[in-house]
């Protein structure tokens, strides 16, 4: 009798669950007379360099959607997580916020971010994602759900000074494609000129360039099941050893990222692996200081394919109100549309996640012709790997441990294997 009751209970539960799945409600499209205001936190907004492009995005969206008002709130990138957290606790979360990819797991787990699959009907979502770079779409996904829609992002690009190449007897039309060549070229530049040879950015701040290097040498920082820290692996040790060797040999500068950026601006650095987001500033400074800027794809470890990791941000939805959720989705749709990415690329300086618009005369064709430096960056999208966010509340500390250990290894002649395995063990202890 009891057994029969259990069976009936399970059957009833399954029936109800099936009904829920079938009848999942998505926020209804807004009617023309339905006025909605959404709050958008952005670290580009208000910034003197990137703000005007973001304001343009908002203005064009509101012009096309007069019943939706977007209240843009400028929040610096470093303080964004704290600000969103404070607002969530205060019961007034923003409807949408621009957050950096490395916090993806924490944002999805702790900030109650809304996956797009729960807000937008599948056919509408699929229709919008048509034309997206398949790799690019993965950047904001976790557990097969899209928590963050990639907004502004870039990849590591090898910028180089063609004039210094010529001065060192190198061919600027043949930039280095492997790290062995980078070392050779950098030593030649350092010897023949007063300039520094090469600099790889990323010893501080965020770990996406470190992840790019480790991945390109066949490794990864976190296991596929997201349970084991792997930056103590042989591949990771090999990647960081290459960096240490560059520095110890004199090919790599001894400066910090901030110092060397200024050296690059003034034409005193041969090669610079840095975010493509810096491109606009580099172009301006190269023109002002009279040297020729060029760009190449990230160099490889021998014959291994490179796996550039993205930097940048995604847009996360936090609103609980169906009308505001729908209004937010309309906004997300616009900023990641062909027109949206045209503004993001040409006015703000990030990559278009819809690569086809670069050849479309309606969008970026003219701009791309005038800005050929974007091409190596676009080409890297085919090999793009998503920036890994560490799980659990200690994600930031794990990232810091990795960065500090790489810094210790690269700026000393210490044993890289010891440093990296020790760091991996300490980070593993912080995993949930």
């Amino acid at each position: 009798m009891i057994r029969l009751a259990h069976v009936l209970l399970v059957a009833l539960s399954l029936f109800l669950l099936a009904g829920l799945v079938v009848a999942q409600d998505y926020p209804a499209p807004l009617t023309a007379d339905q006025n909605v205001t959404i709050r958008f936190y952005s670290y580009n907004l208000g910034n003197a360099a990137f703000g005007p492009g973001t304001e343009k995005l908002i203005a064009e969206f509101m012009e096309a959607n007069p019943n939706i008002t977007v209240e843009g709130v400028p929040v610096p990138a470093a303080e964004m997580t704290a600000r969103v957290q404070a607002d969530i606790v205060a019961g007034t979360p923003p409807d949408v916020a621009q957050l950096i990819f490395d916090g993806l797991d924490f944002i999805a787990t702790n900030f109650n971010a809304k996956p797009l699959e729960t807000i937008v009907p599948p056919e509408e979502l699929a229709a919008h994602f048509e034309g997206f770079s398949p790799n690019g779409l993965q950047l904001g996904r976790l557990n097969d759900l899209t928590y963050g829609l990639p907004f502004t992002f870039s990849t590591p690009v090898m910028f180089y000074n063609a004039d210094l190449f010529r001065a060192a007897g190198l061919d600027p039309d043949a930039p280095p494609t492997t790290w062995a060549q980078v070392k050779e070229y950098a030593l030649q530049i350092a010897e023949a000129t007063e300039a520094e040879g090469v600099h790889i950015a990323g010893l501080g701040g965020f770990d996406w360039i470190v992840q790019s290097l480790i991945g390109s040498n066949g490794g990864q920082v976190l296991s596929a099941d997201r349970s084991t820290i792997e930056f103590g692996s042989e591949a990771a040790i090999g990647a960081i050893s290459m960096w240490q060797d560059l520095r110890l040999s004199g090919a790599h500068s001894q400066f910090t990222d901030a110092e060397i950026t200024e050296a690059m601006f003034t034409g005193n650095l041969g090669m610079y692996l840095q975010s493509s987001a810096i491109q606009r500033t580099l172009i301006t400074n190269a023109e002002t200081n009279g040297w020729e800027l060029r760009a190449a794809a990230m160099p490889a470890f021998g014959d291994l394919p490179t796996t550039p990791v993205n930097s940048g941000s995604a847009l996360f939805m936090f609103s609980d109100d169906p009308a505001r959720q729908r209004a937010t989705w309309e906004f997300l749709k616009f900023v990641t549309s062909e027109r949206g990415y045209t503004i993001i690329t040409s006015d703000i300086g990030y990559l278009p996640l819809r690569p086809a618009i670069v050849e479309d005369p309606q969008y970026l064709q003219e701009w791309a012709k005038a800005n050929p430096l974007v091409l190596p960056n676009l080409e890297q999208l085919t090999r793009l790997r998503a920036w890994v966010s560490y799980p659990g509340p200690n994600w930031r500390q794990i990232e810091t441990i990795l960065l500090e250990s790489v810094q210790q290894a690269v700026t000393s002649d210490g044993d890289v294997a010891t440093i990296m395995t020790d760091a991996a063990a300490r980070a593993q202890a912080l995993m949930p």
């Binding site: 360099a49 709130v73 990138a77 600000r83 404070a86 003034t266 987001a277 002002t288």
Partner: protein, 279 residues
């Protein structure tokens, strides 16, 4: 020529050229960053990273860009109002609290004083969220009240003034009481005038601290028009490159009000620092 200076005993002493030289060098070290900020604000784009101590081509472009990029005038006004109001409120509350602690013995005084001292040790990050939630419930976000009221009192100011009030001679207070002065009269007519130097120097410290506050205005305000100049300066910085020219122009403009206050009140500020022993 050797200069003469007065010792505390009133005797004249010769000061050596070596000590003058040392002071001149130290002054230059202190002034150089300000000079460099002003110099960079007037440099043309092509000379921003020049090591030259003199400007080549002078331009006002960075000032124009800075004023166009952020609502500088409004942000400066907000900062002046916020810093001045916070300073006045903190001085008022700390004078009253220090007077209470030093003048009367009451049950639980030591515990209460210890609690005040302990709040000074609690980091801002620990109280930030509860304060923010309260402020949101009161509807004070994006307002000057939200910027000012949560900082209306300062444990640091109370502790500092308590030490000054404690050392005030009780005989003078007793004499005033015999003359019929009320407690309020004793505070404002006897103690306050005599401790004006300490209170003024504390006021300077509180004003500078409020002027430089960054995180709280960032949290409380959502629009640059309602925010302070420290938030405005941040808008010229980013992980993808800093706009040094406009940043230096904005920083120079932002430091002008403080510089004007200092130039006008230089004598009083130095006197108050020397008298109160504050550094």
């Amino acid at each position: 020529m050797e200069a003469l200076r007065t010792t505390t005993g009133g005797q004249l002493q010769r000061s050596s050229p070596r000590s003058h030289l040392l002071l001149i060098v130290l002054s230059l070290v202190a002034v150089f960053p300000i000079y460099w900020m002003i110099l960079t604000s007037f440099r043309a784009d092509g000379e921003l990273y020049s090591a030259s101590l003199l400007p080549g081509q002078v331009t006002l472009d960075h000032y124009a860009r800075a004023w166009n990029a952020i609502p500088m005038g409004r942000m400066l006004l907000n900062t002046v109002v916020m810093a001045a109001s916070q300073t006045l409120l903190q001085l008022m509350t700390s004078v009253l609290a220090a007077y209470g602690f030093s003048r009367w013995n009451f049950r639980g005084k030591s515990i209460l004083y210890a609690l005040f001292a302990l709040t000074w040790l609690v980091p801002f990050q620990a109280t930030m969220i509860p304060n923010y939630v309260t402020l949101t419930q009161l509807g004070w976000r994006n307002s000057l009240a939200g910027l000012i009221i949560p900082h209306a009192s300062s444990a640091f100011a109370i502790l500092l003034l308590f030490q000054s009030f404690k050392s005030f001679p009780l005989e003078l207070i007793d004499a005033a009481r015999i003359d019929g002065a009320t407690n309020w009269g004793v505070l404002w007519k006897v103690i306050f005038p005599n401790l004006r130097a300490s209170i003024a120097s504390l006021g300077v410290l509180l004003f500078i601290s409020a002027w430089n506050d960054y995180f709280w205005p960032l949290l409380v305000t959502s629009h640059l028009e309602n925010s302070t100049i420290q938030i405005g300066l941040q808008m010229f910085l980013s992980t993808d490159g800093n706009l040094w020219g406009p940043l230096m122009a904005a920083a120079t403009t932002a430091s002008l009000p403080i510089l004007v206050v200092y130039v006008l009140l230089q004598r009083q500020i130095i006197d108050s620092f020397v008298k109160s022993g504050l550094r």
